[in-house]
Symmetry: C2
DNA sequence: ACAAACAGTGTCCGCCAGACACAGTTTCCA
DNA sequence: TGGAAACTGTGTCTGGCGGACACTGTTTGT
């Protein structure tokens, strides 16, 4: 079994190891994760280094290694610390209303902590909080004729859309930011080469807000799911 | 105007600068990008450093800076070099067939160069090849009653889904790989905590293949788009 | 009392991106 | 024809990164 995977699982899921001898630890996983989140919120995930996190706590960077095996595990803890509990399903809400609320709450999480986009790419072990988000979606789709894999695929589809839109929205950025300049540069390029990209140039004429884009894709996905559910419940 | 944005635009779109004096350059942007792609294909994007790329070409790392302002621009060139031309729309194919083929071709690109997932996150300037992929989708949706922003949103929705599935598929990895261990560890965790995550545990009982997941989300999205198009063309 | 276990630190290594000064080469122009 | 200018590739240096390791001091069970 892989060591890294085991370490991460123990940190995220395992019991808070209880040694007895030696001095009491002055730090805790919670404080370390919170400090990491603070750095990432302020300067982005790339700015999170052992030095900076330790400095924020008035410790040396090597002391952090007494609590965390490496930076990857620190980031995993930061994610679990930054992610909220998923919203409780409203009373009497059907699956569509539940998924809509879920998607908007998830989008707000990404909005509060944009670095979550960078921290949650690639293969990794999900923590309890993250997994409970997944649980909500799958549970909301229970009992509508979808198979297990289909429910998981639907959850991935939904989460993926929110992720993508969050990335787009981050790309816009505040006015005057480097992100906004990139977007402006891209617009200029498209306009200059409008002959080669007529459809994009035409479609980009009046840009869309983030909320519009999130809403548009969400409605398409939910319409598609509704069509499948209708077929399945008609022919059970 | 931002310097970085300008540099990238010039490299990706600008004319191949034509100086006259001094020694002829021994390298070219094409060779450098190709070397970078070679490293990324073999060891991932994280392994791409100026040292390694230059070493592969038997040059020192500093010589690369004569061609490329920095690593970010090198990665942008690598992306443009690795991305294929988008598939030509088949004769007589309707929008749904065109988008289906497009999505599968895009998925194959991500499959050939998994590091494209890491290289195409966040705000950045698109190159000509990448933009022509976008062009295909938007053009395929022309003339079906969708507004410009809606066509762009649909393209983002589609591309986002393919991206997400590509990430999932990479997370699976070959048997025995660290990625597979992570996935196995996650499965173990879910099974151990099945009481807290009953829906996920049940849905994960028999896992789904990547092709299934790609197909599932794609059909949902296309069904959703079809519903919108039907509404728009009925009430024009 | 003493040894084991543990916490925090300082030092070291290798790797990274990039700034800068330098030597060698080519070309334009006076 | 002889600079001078422009350009290429290189060596050196800095600051930062993740992490290994040895060390000191502290706490606790035997």
């Amino acid at each position: 079994m892989g060591e890294a995977a085991n370490d991460t699982v123990r940190l995220l899921w395992g019991p808070p190891a209880k040694p007895t001898r030696g001095p009491k630890p002055a730090l805790s996983l919670e404080r370390i994760a919170a400090a990491g989140v603070e750095v990432a919120d302020a300067e982005g995930l790339a700015a999170v280094s052992m030095q900076k996190v330790a400095g924020l706590l008035d410790f040396t960077k090597m002391s952090l290694y007494r609590y965390v095996p490496g930076k990857a595990e620190l980031v995993a803890l930061m994610v679990e610390s930054a992610v909220d509990e998923p919203p409780a399903p409203a009373d009497g809400a059907d699956w569509r209303e539940q998924l809509t609320a879920w998607a908007h709450h998830l989008a707000e999480s990404f909005d509060r902590h944009p670095w979550l986009l960078d921290a949650t790419v690639g293969p990794r072990v999900l923590g309890p909080r993250e997994l409970s988000w997944l649980e909500r979606v799958v549970a909301a789709l229970d009992g509508h004729g979808l198979t297990g894999p289909e429910r998981m695929d639907a959850a991935v589809l939904l989460a993926g859309h929110v992720r993508e839109i969050a990335g787009q929205s981050r790309a816009a950025g505040p006015a005057g930011s480097p992100e906004a300049e990139l977007l402006a540069a891209l617009g200029t390029v498209v306009r200059q080469h409008a002959d080669r990209f007529p459809a994009v140039a035409a479609a980009m004429a009046d840009p869309n807000g983030r909320d519009q884009a999130l809403h548009f894709g969400l409605e398409r996905i939910l319409d598609g799911l509704a069509a499948l559910i209708a077929r399945r419940t008609r022919h059970p």
